[in-house]
């Protein structure tokens, strides 16, 4: 039991994600695997959501590929600390390429929430904001309370990208919901919403 994470962070992940998405406008949202899928889908299913229910470590690079073709639109990654750590090299790419319309929001519970809350590296001292900044993503912030969250949300959508934020949350996860899980359906619906063309 000793590697089970019990963080004392006050913010609750689902409420945080719902609050962020209230201001999304026309933004595209790419989720990482795990709780992020359910947190985003439970805010209301949306054709501009790309739920990645697999490919751990791929969320940032999928969003980057989208962002290059959707320059007029903000592309937001909502993912967990475990998922981001699995694709940590992506931050080096984003720091070099500097896509202006990409924001990466890490819902950091310091735990692998989908598999029993085993502690991740962020609970053992690894600083994702530090890694982002050292990779060249200078606009990077740490959010630990509701005031900082309210102050940060306009930046997620309006600051010149790439933008990076870690939101520290408790380990409690809300119930899973019936998020669309068929990849072919979700991806075609998403692409049509991006391009205005069915094919």
């Amino acid at each position: 039991m000793e590697n089970k994470s019990k963080t004392g962070f006050m913010l609750e992940r689902r409420a945080v994600v719902h609050r962020i998405l209230r201001d999304r406008g026309e933004a595209a949202v790419v989720t990482g695997i795990g709780n992020a899928v359910h947190d985003v889908a439970s805010a209301g299913d949306n054709e501009k959501n790309m739920y990645l229910a697999g490919v751990m470590g791929g969320a940032v690079m999928v969003a980057f590929g989208i962002a290059l073709g959707q320059l007029e639109r903000r592309v937001l990654v909502i993912t967990g600390d475990g998922e981001l750590l699995a694709g940590i090299g992506s931050l080096a790419i984003i720091g070099v390429e500097k896509p202006k319309n990409l924001s990466i929001i890490v819902i950091d519970n310091e735990a692998y929430g989908a598999t029993g809350n085993q502690q991740t590296h962020t609970g053992r001292g690894v600083d994702l904001v530090g890694i982002a900044k050292a990779s060249g993503i200078s606009n990077a912030s740490l959010i630990t309370n509701p005031l900082e969250l309210e102050k940060g949300i306009p930046s997620f959508f309006q600051d010149p990208g790439p933008y990076f934020s870690v939101v520290k949350v408790g380990t409690k996860s809300s119930p899973r919901i019936n998020a669309p899980k068929d990849g072919t359906y979700v991806s075609r619906r998403f692409r049509a919403a991006m391009t205005g063309k069915n094919f």
């Binding site: 697999g54 490919v55 791929g58 290059l68 070099v96 998403f190 692409r191 391009t195």
Partner: protein, 176 residues
Amino acid sequence: MAKNFSKDWHWSQDVHRLFKKIKIKQVAYVPDNGLAKLIDLCIANSSIRSVVLTSEEEGVAQMAGAWLGGQRGVLLTQSGGVGNCINMLSMMQECRIPLLAIVSMRGEWGETFPWQVPMGQSTIPALEAAKVIVHQIDIAEGVTETVSAAAKLAFDSNRAVAVVVSQRITQSGVRG
């Protein structure tokens, strides 16, 4: 039509021209000797965003995003990088998203460096296990035609396709 393949001709020039013709906008790569000329041509082309990766699976994810956002991309990788891509390729299969990859082989024709052989020999079985359609080519004059056919299969029929370019063409790791 007969084509004059002069001494200065390199298949990379024709493949790069094809990229422009079929509107490739994103190229993701990990540097490799066998693809170096093609990578340099792409980097020099301002209508293509050339992105250097830290590991090949990032490029698979980027290519999925390229399609989702309405663009076409190509992944350029050495055979050694194919092993890194396997889990990420599940996105192409589950979502039926196109992938066009050009894979330069090591560990097969005339390889002189033994550490390249294991992954080289696993490359095609690994791609096929991940449901990527493989087009192999071992003659320089046929590379462009093969990439052109693979691009149609990928982007018009929404399939993951890899053009596997033999060491016989690149002579990478084949000492004379």
